[in-house]
């Protein structure tokens, strides 16, 4: 497996149609994943860069993930409470929200927010390094860009996404409770209903989703950045594509994961 295929786009002729381009993209992702796994076990870990990325992807994303989740939890409760209270099912509100948050909303919101915030930044940074020859400079100093740039970002994402998912869960429930309270649903009945309806696996399955999303965002963004070419416009294109492709893949993966984890047959 030749890891240089990820960035030495000179070696492969430009893809001529959409099918070829997609296949090339999937191939590059596969190579990058394989090279990252191999590098993780055979090379030295760049601790400092990994911690740096953890702070950037995790800590710095927490407020925005919390904020969007809180509002999402609030709006879901707004609809469900007005429906449930009408038909006398006020004590289902908390549970319905919790299941929705744990399984779907928290993982997806985490994925989207981090893609927007960090996927774009990863692609832009690596893309700029590519076109200003900094990637070449790394290689010339016998440092693998995969070891130094890609693995820290993938690892940091894998560690931080589940934590962000937990934050999203918590914030969503809090946001929902604030609205529920306005509908006259008390805290104890709200919590009681969560305990009744939500299962531990709803939580665990949601966190498993975030791990897959972490892999998607970090690998796609790194790949797009490393494959950037053609000046500032090229970096812009790489950034856009990193965000769009990550989002599409997240939503597609989300469907299949939902089927796999939660569908009862």
């Amino acid at each position: 497996m030749r890891e240089e295929l990820v960035w030495l786009d000179e070696e492969s002729p430009r893809a001529r149609n959409a099918v070829q381009a997609s296949l090339e993209f999937v191939g590059a992702l596969g190579v990058l994943l394989f090279a990252s796994i191999r590098g993780l076990f055979s090379g030295r870990l760049e601790w400092r860069e990994t911690l740096h990325q953890m702070a950037f992807i995790g800590a710095a994303s927490a407020p925005i993930v919390a904020l969007t989740s809180a509002f999402t939890g609030a709006v879901v409760t707004l609809y469900s409470a007005s429906l449930f209270v009408e038909v006398g099912g006020g004590n289902f509100v908390g549970g319905a929200l919790a299941v929705a948050m744990f399984r779907e909303l928290a993982p997806i919101l985490t994925g989207i927010m981090v893609t927007a915030r960090c996927g774009s930044a990863i692609a832009a940074q690596l893309g700029t390094m590519k076109i200003t020859e900094q990637i070449d400079a790394l290689r010339a100093l016998a440092v693998s860009p995969i070891q130094y740039l890609v693995i820290p970002r993938v690892l940091a994402s894998l560690v931080m996404f589940p934590m962000l998912g937990m934050i999203a869960n918590f914030a969503g429930i809090v946001g929902g409770w604030v609205v529920a309270d306005a509908f006259g649903i008390g805290l104890s009945s709200f919590l009681q209903s969560i305990r009744l309806l939500a299962e531990p696996f709803d939580l665990i399955g949601g966190l498993i989703k975030t791990l897959v999303f972490a892999l998607i965002v970090s690998l796609v963004s790194a790949q797009q950045g490393l494959a950037a070419r053609g000046g500032a416009v090229g970096v812009g294109r790489a950034t856009t594509r990193a965000v769009v492709l990550s989002m599409v893949l997240i939503f597609a993966a989300n469907y299949f994961l939902a089927d796999l984890l939660f569908a009862k047959r």
């Binding site: 240089e4 200003t132 100093l141």
Partner: protein, 267 residues
């Protein structure tokens, strides 16, 4: 280093990208301890040749031998160890813009040599002193002038103690004093540490005083080769024009070669 094995050698090196052939069969041989200059007009393929020599670009066809190993068919991973012994100074410095000067110069050393922090600091200070930079360790590349960046790039490559160094226009963009000092540094490294160097430049003066041999390339092909003396005396029209224009102090005693305006005569 084995006897008889050249430090660097290319055989029928061809490099093409996007259907455009940039190097058209280069045969170059660099012995240990030589300083070889590569001279040529802008766009003639000098940078591309250097990048093929250190394995950053993969040749389309032909062979690239580095210290007795043909690196052309090797994968990126297999080429990595080789780069510890071979340094390259980039034309545009290519400094890591998110790291300070100190971190840039220390980058390779910290990763590849088991040295104490104090030893690393010593090496960084010394290499920066070699290129005439002191007291800039804490600055970021964006806070430096172009010439200073270039010299940091030089220090970064030399920090790894490579025994072959490829210099891509080490003196372009430097003032005459600093250019002179950099040329002197290259010659001193060659004499005192037996450094093998390939110096790419279109600065004829600088090449003449540093190199033991000069190779002239044009449009991806070697068109002349020899010691500075033989190159100076060569009757080759392109070489002559190149040298005369480089040393000309007036603008009308040189026959017109390019940029056709009106009907000026072609040589």
């Amino acid at each position: 280093m084995k006897a008889g094995v050249p430090a660097l050698e290319t055989r029928q090196l061809v490099y093409a990208v996007d259907g455009k052939v940039i190097l058209k069969g280069i045969d170059l041989r660099v012995e240990y301890g030589e300083v070889v200059g590569i001279m040529g007009a802008s766009g003639s393929g000098k940078t591309t040749l250097l990048k093929c020599l250190c394995g950053l670009l993969k040749p389309t066809s032909g062979e690239v031998w580095v210290e007795g190993v043909n690196i052309a068919p090797l994968s990126e991973r297999e080429r990595m160890p080789l780069r510890l012994r071979l340094g390259i100074v980039f034309q545009d410095a290519a400094l890591f813009d998110y790291l300070t000067v100190y971190e840039n110069v220390a980058f390779g050393v910290e990763r590849h040599r088991k040295l104490s922090r104090e030893q690393v600091r010593q090496i960084v200070r010394e290499r920066l002193a070699w290129v005439g930079l002191e007291g800039v360790e804490h600055l970021y590349p964006s806070q430096l002038s172009g010439g200073m960046r270039k010299r940091v790039g030089l220090a970064r490559a030399l920090a790894m103690d490579p025994h072959i160094v490829l210099f891509d226009e080490p003196t372009s963009g430097l003032d005459p004093v600093n250019a002179y000092q950099v040329d002197r540094l290259i010659v001193r490294l060659n004499r005192e540490l037996n450094l093998t160097a390939v110096v790419v430049s279109h600065d004829v003066v600088s090449l003449m005083r540093t190199c033991s041999r000069i190779v002239m390339i044009e449009a991806g092909q070697i068109i002349a080769e020899g010691t500075p003396e033989t190159i100076r005396q060569l009757e080759h029209p392109q070489v002559r024009a190149f040298l005369r224009m480089a040393s000309s102090e007036t603008l009308d005693d040189v026959p017109w070669l390019g940029y056709n305006i009106g009907q000026e005569a072609q040589v």
